[in-house]
Symmetry: D3
Subunit: 238 residues, 6 copies
């Protein structure tokens, strides 16, 4: 059966465990999910300075993990995704790309809800790099850092619902993306109250990783994702 390695790029083990549960729940019976996170680095990822550390740790984890049938990089910014594809022959999926893919399958214009305004340019860059800028209805920030989010904070849920309603009614979004794993547990509640699909990259990412495996599709080793050239590394394993 299908064995998925879910890599949480931040160092918060509760987050790792929760996302592992989400992935397992959408996979067919008998599948296995190994959920891991690095031993060093930021406990949440809210800046590029956090992201570069997390990307390096994520790549190192892929390198060190015994072979799985697929890898899921479980941070919305998809840190280290290209590096992971070089290092693995199995398919690798990022939850950011999974969420964008889901949104384009169930709607025409998606809205994104993020934590802080400072993240908007990086989100726009990722959306533009995927060629999806024409399908973006808008990005709204909650003005609340990652650490303060979650189902335990009713105010956060209200803020997410309000942002979603604004994106749907004023910007034309017919699908929503919550650009932060910390918001995942309120996705269904947001969906019900806003009335549009809410696309969770962890769940759908696990689903498309499984679909790739079912179809026998593995990461191409013929081009940019070929195994890295052997290069001398100083002070660390290469």
């Amino acid at each position: 059966m299908f064995r998925l390695a879910l890599i949480n790029p931040n160092t918060d083990p509760h987050h790792t465990e929760a996302m592992g549960g989400v992935a397992l729940a959408v996979l067919p019976a008998g599948c296995e999910v190994t959920a891991v996170n690095p031993e060093r680095g930021p406990s949440s990822i809210e800046s590029e300075a956090d992201a570069v550390v997390a990307a390096a740790e994520t790549a190192a984890l892929v390198r060190s993990l015994p072979e799985h049938d697929a890898y899921l990089i479980a941070c919305f910014g998809d840190p280290g995704l290209d590096a992971a594809r070089e290092l693995a022959a199995a398919p690798v999926v990022g939850i950011g790309e999974a969420a964008y893919t889901a949104a384009t399958l169930v709607g025409k214009r998606f809205g994104v809800i993020t934590t802080l305004p400072r993240s908007i340019p990086a989100l726009e860059e990722a959306i533009e790099a995927r060629g999806l800028l024409p399908r973006l209805a808008g990005i709204l920030p909650l003005h609340i850092p990652v650490a303060e989010q979650g189902a335990g904070h009713p105010d956060t849920t209200e803020a997410i619902v309000a942002a979603g309603q604004s994106l749907a009614s004023e910007r034309g979004a017919d699908a929503l993306i919550l650009a932060c794993g910390g918001m995942a547990d309120v996705a269904r509640a947001v969906e019900q109250r806003v009335g549009v699909p809410v696309c969770d990259g962890v769940a759908f990412g696990a689903g498309i990783a499984h679909a790739l495996w079912s179809c026998g599709l593995r990461t191409s080793k013929a081009g940019a994702y070929a195994a890295p050239e052997p290069i001398p590394y100083l002070g660390m394993p290469g």
Copy 2:
């Protein structure tokens, strides 16, 4: 369990049956696939004149089919996809979009193999509309119409392999897409001989339709995919 309606927009029942089998093979045990095709229209789709007929027939089939858990439109040009999404609340996937999605998950630059040069502009338009033009390595035609293709024609297989090798070695493609259902049965052979993943939209389309269903994601009814306005229709059911 998951019940998929696979709609072949052309009127060739052998093709319908073959694609139904491909879809069933990649789904978890217990899933069901209903494969259908219209009772009127072209037996293969090689022009826009064919495609407009097939799109109308496809939409009519979606409208008439009892509720399924997902719909797969099984022609590479995805005829009638937006109309089908208006008419269905369940998720709808096209095999063209599925193949492009697969290619971007396992490689950086995809090459497309089609039948006739006349199809290239429409393929480029579809790729551009998806924002994927920067990831296109190239499109090569076989100069062989649909009706003459298939595993029973060794020459066709050779032509597909030759086009794939040219796309990989000269254009930098690290993934291939066969832009025609008629080529699907040689996909694995092409993959082995060219050495890059060959992305089949029927198989991966069934997989992502299943993944959407697993995640509880349905077509948004809040925007462009809302059910059509009631309009008087002349000479036919609306």
Copy 3:
């Protein structure tokens, strides 16, 4: 003299007749306009489900009409335009493309007024496919379905004027497009009250069809618009 076939893709004969009159009025003396519509299909086109039926009927009409000097597809969404070009050697023009072309010749930034919000993504896709997204000032919906529009509804005229004024003064539009044939008869009134050119695709489409004919330009038969490959059709003429 020039003989234009105007094809109204919907089944409303009053609309057909009115658009035929508009086309005739802008052509030089002695030209002829044959205005037709399908015998089956929707009486107005407000969804993709309507549009796929209309596209098939439009292509069938082009196929069945005796040779004219040019064809004008008279629905703003240009349904079946590429198919019609395959089927005709004479030039074929769509009123949507004609309106966009006019707007780019007399202004720098155009605004579009449509009926329902659900139409906005399809309009944006058509504008993007033409490379004109940078010239779009905005799209405003009237929130009024096609069937309720026209000069006989003073409220509709007021709504169109209000949308036009908003597009001009707040979004920077210096030209307007009414994305629906049903609004055509109020175009001059809107132009006077808003103070910017209002581009009607029926009139200008007839004009450029005539200009193509005057220049001896016919639809290219060397590429994507070559006559369709002969394909067996089931249950209908191919």
Copy 4:
């Protein structure tokens, strides 16, 4: 009846007269064409240094000409087009934009034939600014300066035909544009030998100028094309 002012931005009177004849030939009987050129500046336009002089002279001519029903700027680079639109209330058309418009109406992919390789980037910029880069099949230079071209040079005709055949058969062009007025008189010969429509901006430009006038469409004075602010000019009329 319609009175067109054709402005040749270069100072070659033979060219002016020839283009005036082409324009008159495609207009309905009774129309008038006034063909003029500046009294100073380059006799042909092959560099940006030539073009900036020609643009200033063209704008000055528009400013000085008594009111016409439309203006046609008859140099493929459309020098001074935006300035002319500020200065005129009547519609203004450039032969470059006219040729691109024609090519997109009769084909899917156009090829451009120019004189010198140095012109290619400026042509690509103009095509990109119009949003038409995805429809460009390719640009081929003749490696022959403007002054040496024309029907009197059989070698030039052969070179144009050869470039056209290469664009059609190797690059997928199904329509051709001759990016130089000096090539206009061989357009029909090229069309016959290459087998694809050859789009001449002088003829079609006159046609769409007439179509704009027929529809009552004039240059918008509400935005970027408003009459220039009154500014003190030194050493020349403002």
Copy 5:
């Protein structure tokens, strides 16, 4: 030492002198700046009609000036920039391109403050031609013509600050560009009050002109910027 020719395309000598001083101030000790302006043409540039005259005069000045180590075209619209590059072998920089370059080096999203709404489309076109549209936060006009601006007008400073604050807080701009030389002397005041870098093209343009010279980089003479073909000119030197 480095000798810079600063060319003010308008005919206002006070403006010329002021910009010469700004350029000299940022260059290393010992550098020289020759600041000139044309003897004819508009005293400020607020329309395309002004710009085409200024472009021709700018090119003529470059042609006539004895060789310098670099040229700086000191009008935000960069009139005649490509022509100047054809005419000079030394590097040529425009203050518009310099300001955009600076903004992309110190921020992620820039806002532009201009004088009149009519200028917005031309600014957007220049930004799009540079590929920077995704980085544009917005453009706000002061609704004040050039002639009325400057440090001597407290109201203008307040208007610039207000526009800057709006761009920063509502549109997400983290860098500002003042699209008019007349605003340059209030740049530091705006920077302090808005709290984001204000990028002045005159200062940074002088800096990158010097940097190009330091690196031995000169305008390429191998392509589009080769010296113009010799063409007969009528009534003026070619």
Copy 6:
């Protein structure tokens, strides 16, 4: 005087020293360059797996370095550039962005020479993200890994010259970029033999870093480049 911190993201001290010398050579007398590299990581950067390690190390170096007047990240892929901008208030420049900027100032179409074909997609992505894809003439690989390059390898020089000549004569490049610091010492030789400017990001990057400093322009702290949120880091300093 100006103090530049040059950060070589790889761990090759010879490379660090050589690039420090290049930077110092183009700066005005009296400037200082501190050239450093990480103590761990790859000795050259040829894959994304190398790049993610280098990006994290580069950011850590910026964080640890005492304040300088500007930072130059001296690897063509600009690893860690956005993170560095968050961590520094002084301006930060990458040599990749510097080389692209130089090329667009001295030519219209640039060609890029890289080491291995696998790098082409990442280069194209960087160029596309900067909006410069329309100005790319082409990318040619040497098929030689970084470690084998340099002036000491006559064959490498010949391969670079051959690639440059091909880009200039067949693809229309009028400026060249050597996408690898290891090629920098042959830049002048390549320039002379190919006849087009060769843009070195180390030299020009130092120059524009100096120009930013001269103009008083510092990294914006108002948006995406604000100092990172304080986040708990595990097993390492945050």
